[in-house]
Every structure is written in structure tokens, then in C-alpha cells.
Amino acid sequence: MCFARVVQGGLNRVIGQAASARLATSGVFAKELEQAIQLFQRMGLGLASADGRVDPRGKTWRGLADTLSLKRIIVSLDNQWLDALEDGRRVFGFPCVSGDGAHPTDKGTFRVSRKAHPYRSRTYDVDMNYAMFFTADGKAIHQYHGFAGLTAVRFLRHNASDWQAAQGTARDQVRLAWLGAARRSQCTCALQLDAEWHADLRILRRPGGVDGSHALRWRCLRLRRLRAVRRRTP
């Protein structure tokens, strides 16, 4: 279903702005999607046998990816994790902090409409460098500039969800954050690499079916940290 939606979105970008011809990004493999794939195979790729199928890593998929240079960012709110994908392949992944309960992060599929670096939010009066706006009301993925370490933010939110609200920091955003210097350069690269204007942005309630191993890794990491904190606590 997830893959079908990616294909529908990709074909829509090939089709362009002609609204009547655009496919519904339902994730359902319907007849009209098959016809659109066949058309792309014949006209876009010049394939003699248009079978209307898109196999991962297959010729049609590679052709679509080459045509569009597909780049996606997937944010898992459950796991507080951001993945950057290029042509279906995960190129970066790092922890992030999303908006809290009072300022929930929108869920859905978005497109990055504007990038700015450096950037300072007037609304919250904090730096939000490498900002990638994905909603008209100013929600963005951006660099973390909180005064507290990310680990602390995540741990405290786990225990007291309104802690961050009490501190008056920026919350109405998808907050991109990282743990150390090594991560920082990686995140910076990721933002620059994936902030292509055609990049689709998916914010999911549950982890996508791309690569679940990082989610498991993160859970293990968090568990280890919690245990370490418990050991230190008298």
C-alpha cells in the first residue's frame, strides 16, 4: 500500500499540474494506476511491453526514480525518528523531536515548499536553522536549538509531556535534533541532500515499511538509557 502510494505520487509529478489527469494517492492499486503505469512505460521509458507493473528495483521503478530523482523524508512520530530516502533507499536516519501534545505535529503527506538557512522564528523567538517548511502555517523540519540536550528532552517528555510547554520553547514544529557532533554533520548533510523541492514528506503514526531495524535499534538504545538512569537513581 505504501509502495503504491509512492508510485501514485511519482506518476502525479510526471503528469504535472493537470488536475484532471492526476491519480488519487490512495495507496490502492486500481485500474487507473495500472493504465498510468502502462502509459509511463510506453511513453516515458519507451518499453515495448508495457505490463503496468512496478517492481521494487525493477526497470520501471528505476526509470521513475531516474525521471524524478525521488527523495523522501519519513518522520515516525511513534519512534521519534526521521529517515531520508533516495530512490527508495535509506540514506540517512536520525532521532528527532516532534511537537508535543499541545502543539501536535500534522500527520499526512506533505511537500517541502520553502527552505531557509539561517532562520529564526519570530513566533517563538528561537533559531530554527536549516528550516524546511511543509505547511502554509509555518510547520517545518529544522535544526534543534533547545537549551536542553536532546536526550533530556526526550526523557523528560516521556515522563512529563508538558515539560517542554512549561519551558516555552518552540513546539509547533517538527523538530529535528541530534545527539552529538558526529550526528550533527550527518544531519546537516541530510537536510541539504534531501531538501530537494520535489521531496515528499510523510509523517506517519507508525513506522513505515521501509526499514524497521532502526526503530528496534532506537527502542533498545532508549531501554538501555532508562536502565542506566534507574541504576544511578538512589
Binding site: S113, R114, A116, H117, T123, A136, D137, G138, W197
Partner: protein, 146 residues
């Protein structure tokens, strides 16, 4: 700010107004909606002309939709350039439809030296960040309005 950093970029459909304002001239490209074409208004030497966008004007306008730092400069570099004779300072402003997102504003200093290629330095006043940019960002100012 590092060399090659993309300072600003926007989708074309997210732009409603672009303004380049210098001491002696000003160009404003505006439209009512994302689907509408731009109309350009030129103010030069006290005369005001208005025209529909041509492919040349559109291409020049697009140069303002993505600004990349060619080379990072120290904050004093901009001041040094401004102190030179024959330097134009132009303010760029790009406004989108969303009121929640601040307009992008950039100060551009263009030096006119016949011995060298056009050189444009940019300064983000709010961030005290200076860098050189592609001179094509000012292409719109040089085009005629027909």
C-alpha cells in the same frame, strides 16, 4: 554558513511577490494567486512601466527562487564592498502566500568593475551573515519591459 549552502529556496508556486529595490531602480513582480502569471513593474529614473512576464523575465525571476552561497565571507566584507565606489545595494524580498512564514529578505551589493566579472555579495542583516552569490540573481534588473 559554508560555501555551497543553500540559503533560501522556494517552490515557484509558493511565490506571490518578488521585489528588487535599488537606489535608482526597482522591479516588482507580483501575482494574485499561484496559478496566475506574474506581472512586472519597473521603476527606472522616475518612469514606471508595467508588463506581462516574458520567458526572459520568467527566467530572470527564477534566479531569485534559490540562493546558494558561493563563498562565505566575514561580516566586514560586505561593509568593505559597500565602501567602494560604484557599488549598488539592492534589497531582495520574496513573499509567499503563507503569512506564518516570514518573507525572505536579502541585501545584495553589486560591484561594477570592467576588468572583472560581475561580483555580487549578499548579507542577511538579521543574522549578520555575509557571502557571495551568483550574479544572475540580479538579472531581472537588467531586462527591458516591453
Amino acid at each position: 554558513m559554508k560555501s555551497g549552502d543553500e540559503v533560501f529556496s522556494t517552490l515557484e508556486e509558493e511565490v506571490l511577490s518578488v521585489r528588487l529595490r535599488g537606489a535608482h531602480e526597482q522591479v516588482t513582480a507580483t501575482r494574485k494567486s499561484s496559478a496566475a502569471p506574474f506581472r512586472d513593474r519597473f521603476e527606472r529614473a522616475g518612469a514606471r512601466t508595467e508588463c506581462a512576464s516574458t520567458p526572459e523575465l520568467e527566467a530572470a525571476l527564477k534566479q531569485t527562487f534559490s540562493i546558494r552561497a558561493r563563498q562565505s565571507l566575514d561580516a566586514n566584507a560586505f561593509e568593505r564592498l559597500m565602501a567602494l565606489p560604484k557599488v549598488d545595494v539592492i534589497e531582495l524580498e520574496v513573499i509567499g502566500p503563507g503569512k506564518a512564514i516570514d518573507p525572505f529578505r536579502l541585501s545584495l551589493a553589486s560591484s561594477v568593475d570592467r576588468k572583472r566579472a560581475p561580483h555580487v555579495e549578499a548579507f542577511l542583516r538579521e543574522y549578520e551573515s555575509a557571502f557571495s552569490v551568483d550574479a544572475r540573481v540580479l538579472d531581472l534588473l537588467a531586462l527591458p519591459c516591453r
